[in-house]
Symmetry: C2
Subunit: 328 residues, 2 copies
């Protein structure tokens, strides 16, 4: 029996907790510990006998961890932690600021390649599994159009971005597909739809005492990459209302490729997710890709990678012959 893949978790919010749960479901992985910027004694892991360490001391564990799963936010944490940790460990992260992926990739690659580590970035469902379906869609049905719809659901990255604004105490952001846009796509009409036409974004915000609502609202709706291209509504609510009505994190959505083959034959490929917990699902994707990162590193394939670079079979604990027999 081979030894288990030793996993570390860097950052212990919803995503980190989800990774802890996901590791427990994988037969060939074990959790080495949680690494946090907080006081370790203040962190309560979901499992028993889980070690919690200072993130500042992470270098001491460089020989104990095979793959570090980065569970920080894309806006403030990962741009710094991603390259720093990729110098020390083979890593997985869920960097999801789509417009900044190319520069983030370059920074990670520059850190990982000379260090002999392997870093798979922007893993999750979008970017991640949805990206894969956009790719399979447009390569198979070369003559066609691809549509990605999100929601209704809470977006972690966007909620996080709102929470970091000065004067915001707490916030959630829901993405909602436009019913009108969906109807057009399902009818096979291949309409041209702008980002703004496909979804609306709803923000619920709890202000810090003394914060100016108009300033916060303006900061949100004009935020580049996140909100400036969308119809965004902002509602200010109390902390009590937030806890009562906005404490679960459902999400989902779908990727549709509508295309034509032969002399104009209609073909439709559709991928959809219905998630009762967005962070727990994202965590499960991160954890599956940790196995692939470990194997690629063992194979000497170093540097930055994305889901597009990963042979799907490397995600599975089953060996190639078993996969062919059972799943092909």
């Amino acid at each position: 029996m081979e030894s288990k893949i030793r996993i570390g978790i860097a950052g212990y919010g919803n995503l980190g907790k989800g990774v802890e749960f996901a590791i427990a479901q994988q037969p060939d992985m074990e959790l080495v510990g949680i690494f946090t910027r907080r006081d370790p004694s203040s962190v309560q892991p979901v499992g028993d006998n889980v070690s919690v360490y200072q993130l500042a001391d992470v270098e001491k564990h460089v020989n104990d961890v095979d793959v570090m799963i980065l569970c920080g936010g894309s806006r403030a944490d990962l741009p710094e932690q991603g390259p720093a940790l990729a110098k020390l460990f083979t890593t997985i992260d869920s960097f999801d600021t789509h417009a900044k992926i190319p520069e983030y990739f370059d920074a990670i690659d520059a850190a990982a390649k000379p260090s002999g580590t392997t870093a798979i970035l922007s893993v999750g469902w979008d970017p991640g599994l949805f990206s894969l379906n956009r790719l399979y869609g447009e390569t198979v049905l070369a003559d066609g159009a691809t549509y990605t719809f999100w929601g209704k659901g809470l977006s972690q990255g966007h909620s996080d971005a709102v929470r970091r604004i000065n004067g915001v105490k707490n916030a959630v952001q829901y993405t909602i597909p436009s019913e009108e846009a969906i109807s057009k796509v399902r009818a096979g009409k291949q309409p041209e739809l702008s980002t703004r036409e496909k979804h609306v974004r709803e923000c619920y915000v709890v202000l810090e005492a003394g914060a100016d609502a108009a300033t916060v609202e303006d900061t949100i709706v004009t935020m580049p990459d996140y909100f400036s291209d969308y119809d965004t509504t902002v509602s200010f609510i109390s902390e009590e209302e937030m806890q009562q009505n906005h404490s679960t994190m459902p999400h989902g959505g779908f990727v549709i490729r509508s295309g034509k083959t032969g002399k104009g034959t209609n073909q439709v490929m559709e991928y959809s997710l219905t998630l009762d917990s967005n962070p727990e699902f994202t965590s499960s994707v991160l954890t599956a890709y940790a196995r692939a990162a470990y194997r690629l590193n063992q194979l000497g394939q170093h540097g930055a990678k994305t889901v597009f670079d990963i042979p799907p079979g490397l995600l599975s604990p089953k060996d190639p012959a078993q996969l062919r027999k059972e799943l092909l």
Copy 2:
């Protein structure tokens, strides 16, 4: 500008025609010619100025073709043609006799590896894209159940198998998902369902003059791998009825992974295809994978491969940086 990938088509039925159409949609591919066991002058390609050659002379074209796409049937053609052509060319095929994939893989691998060719086998949608979704499903949601449903649709492989029975002049086979089974799965109940419980198979058969209907029916319903595990009905019809009512080839189906994360949170991943032409879609998948086979061969990765071994990015004419920027 790089030179185009030069494609050959071995076998020119519905699948071969579909590949010819699909190549025309790909910016970086060109069709070298069609290779047939028939008299080449009897073959009418869909495009103009397409060369048609004797399959027996295929070895003369070994330096003209980068990837040979095998468009023969799984039951009688591919077990022989697959290994023979993999000795000469980098190949793609759609071998779809699930139970025999492991031995077919070994035969192809033994032919391709010493020849320095790359052969991706069992490409299409099932096996193929559905297999990928079974894999992504069970690796991400490790605690769960996977369901594959087909149809309603015409199955090429099964129709082909019936047509090869002595006394059968023409035949089509439709696979139909059981409505009762689908309802249980959609309700998130993770029921245990046997192959027989999930689908029924309907065959429509035109007999040769003098053939014995009872013998043909018995041969169909007891055929291993193809029909013996299913509730199968056989109807005998006239050639006129066959042409009038059974001349299009729609298909589709879905793969659902229903799983639990965290402390019992429900998560559902679903992949579905709605195809107005099954062979044209399968051909489009084969053609996209031809690009990956060509690239793997260029990279020195020889031998037999399946969709599980192929990094998704290799399917696309776009380069990795463009994929990250546009699709991730």
